[in-house]
Symmetry: C2
């Protein structure tokens, strides 16, 4: 029975204890984690960023990543979008009884590799096991803390008319790559999820400019949700230009086929930045030098008109309001 | 359909947005949360404690609490067991499609009330929704950060022979209260879960003594797991005395009936402290003045013999090794 997760792995008894020592500590070993107290304790001084996200993606392995990589990238990116340097991560697993131990090992390895790339340490965690049928395989909640420098002031409420909207690459890759592997809608594509930790890209941007005002990663709800949040939280209008938004041909084709709008499809390795116009070209150059920002472009601007609303100039020359999605395009995309 | 959780409440679109603004921000309103950026940002200086736990308890409403109260108490208590003052909490929800909105509201109110009692703020969060049948109603992951004073050095690795073992009250109340409501094993009892935030109790202890060496709340795995963790992490022996361990008569009766050992039954409002012998009586007096420590007692001592093992002197005068549990007594107890 060593090859499956049992309810007893969540009991707090011997099997829980062995799972923590033999899997977690072995994989993530560091001085803070290895103390195995109820909390991780470390020194930090200054402005702290703190975030949490649960990951319920299905399937758990997908082209370009898995739920473990996603869980680290998502939380590292949420910290980064506040201008923080990610430092410490906490990992909470909910496992379904019968989950294969080898899959757990693969996911933990992926978490380790991604957190190492991001330079963040897994310092504390928890594992719960629920009866078969009470959860779908594995859910991961990743929380993180990071440090924000004193001079950084990044918030979705900071956008001002005249600012430029920067996007770090193609949109929709994560959602369409995932969908290509879903039961019932499998189609052939070489497309990979863009799932990536964006902390170094953000650090390079923030180090070279004091004029980055807002940052957000357009995950669930896509680019449309992110831009609407900027417009609402800053009470400004946002105008984007359809012909400037990079879209991978395979994403374009898949969206055409299935009637999706790529503006609403999730990304897991892209960011949207609102920056002062005077620094926009400079920032695009800096972003393009990072592997995760190679296709960065200026896709629009903040305007005084239509506050709270996002308007897109289409390739046909017309204007269209881009609202948040009201239904659900792709359940369990992250 | 306003009365049920829909997949679209987890879409990142309009319904997610409304759920966050109308439920979360309304219930937990505070300046850090209300910014609604990807991370909460606040000032902290010094030694930081950081913890996370997922809560999958079934049933979600039980005598003496619910999954929301439990999720706050568990995380507040994990911070407290490192000697930290809990400051900020992050809340991540995984909801099953169709979950009643009124139950969610009740749980959020309970979270708000408990975090207010503990003096901690909910500053960030996440909500995911999975298809019906892919989770059981609601899972909550609560993460927390707190401040540890410079002089505090509390760790399960600090126990030394001669130290005393203090327990803050009766054991097994949470597990048995929960079990009394489980399908198939319902029995009549007035017993309530002991679920409670212990931060003030710990702060009173730490403020009055520098000789608190280790603290832990005996949740899953019960008192037995906690004492074994102390023995293993400090490489010492632990001896406890059965006749000094307070047990509620109803817990005793239920354990007799079902063949459970109360040493393995979960608690959610108790702590075990390892303290220098010279301060033990003083600390017991301080603990007894707090409502959550009224029945505190000295239940044993750290010994040089049998390192890594816990031995109990029984009421019959015999000695018995108390190991961690190897199976699973009560799945989904927390």
């Amino acid at each position: 029975m060593d090859d499956k997760i049992l309810l007893a792995h969540g009991s707090g008894g011997r099997l829980s204890h062995d799972l923590i020592r033999k899997q977690m500590v072995k994989t993530f070993s560091n001085p803070v984690l290895n103390k195995l107290d109820d909390s991780a304790v470390f020194e930090l001084h200054g402005r702290i960023a703190f975030t949490t996200d649960s990951y319920v993606v299905s399937p758990i392995f997908f082209p370009g990543g898995d739920i473990g990589k996603l869980a680290v990238c998502g939380t590292v990116n949420d910290l980064s979008m506040s201008g923080a340097v990610p430092m410490y991560l906490a990992l909470s697993l909910i496992l379904e009884e019968g989950f294969p131990m080898t899959d757990l090992e693969t996911i933990l390895q992926s978490i380790e590799k991604t957190s190492r790339e991001a330079g963040a340490f897994i310092v504390t965690g928890d594992t719960k096991v629920v009866n078969k049928g009470c959860a779908d395989k594995i859910f991961i909640t990743t929380s993180g803390v990071g440090i924000v420098s004193e001079k950084t002031d990044i918030s979705s409420a900071n956008c001002k008319p005249g600012d430029k909207i920067l996007l770090s690459g193609t949109i929709g890759d994560h959602g369409i790559a995932l969908m290509s592997r879903r039961e019932g809608i499998r189609f052939e594509t070489s497309l990979q999820s863009d799932c990536a930790p964006l902390n170094r890209l953000v650090q390079e941007m923030v180090a070279s400019s004091d004029l980055v005002k807002a940052l957000r990663d357009p995950t669930r709800g896509g680019l449309a949700a992110t831009l609407n949040e900027f417009a609402e939280n800053s009470r400004v209008g946002i105008r984007i230009h359809e012909d400037r938004i990079p879209i991978h041909p395979e994403v374009h084709a898949a969206c055409e086929l299935m009637g999706f709008d790529p503006l609403y499809v999730a990304n897991e390795g892209k960011l949207v930045a609102v920056v002062s116009a005077q620094d926009a070209e400079n920032l695009i150059r800096i972003m393009q030098e990072n592997r995760y920002g190679a296709k960065s472009s200026i896709i629009g601007e903040v305007v005084a008109e239509h506050p709270g609303k996002v308007v897109m100039k289409t390739t046909l020359g017309t204007s269209r309001i881009v609202d948040m999605i009201t239904g659900e395009l792709l359940p369990r995309i992250c």
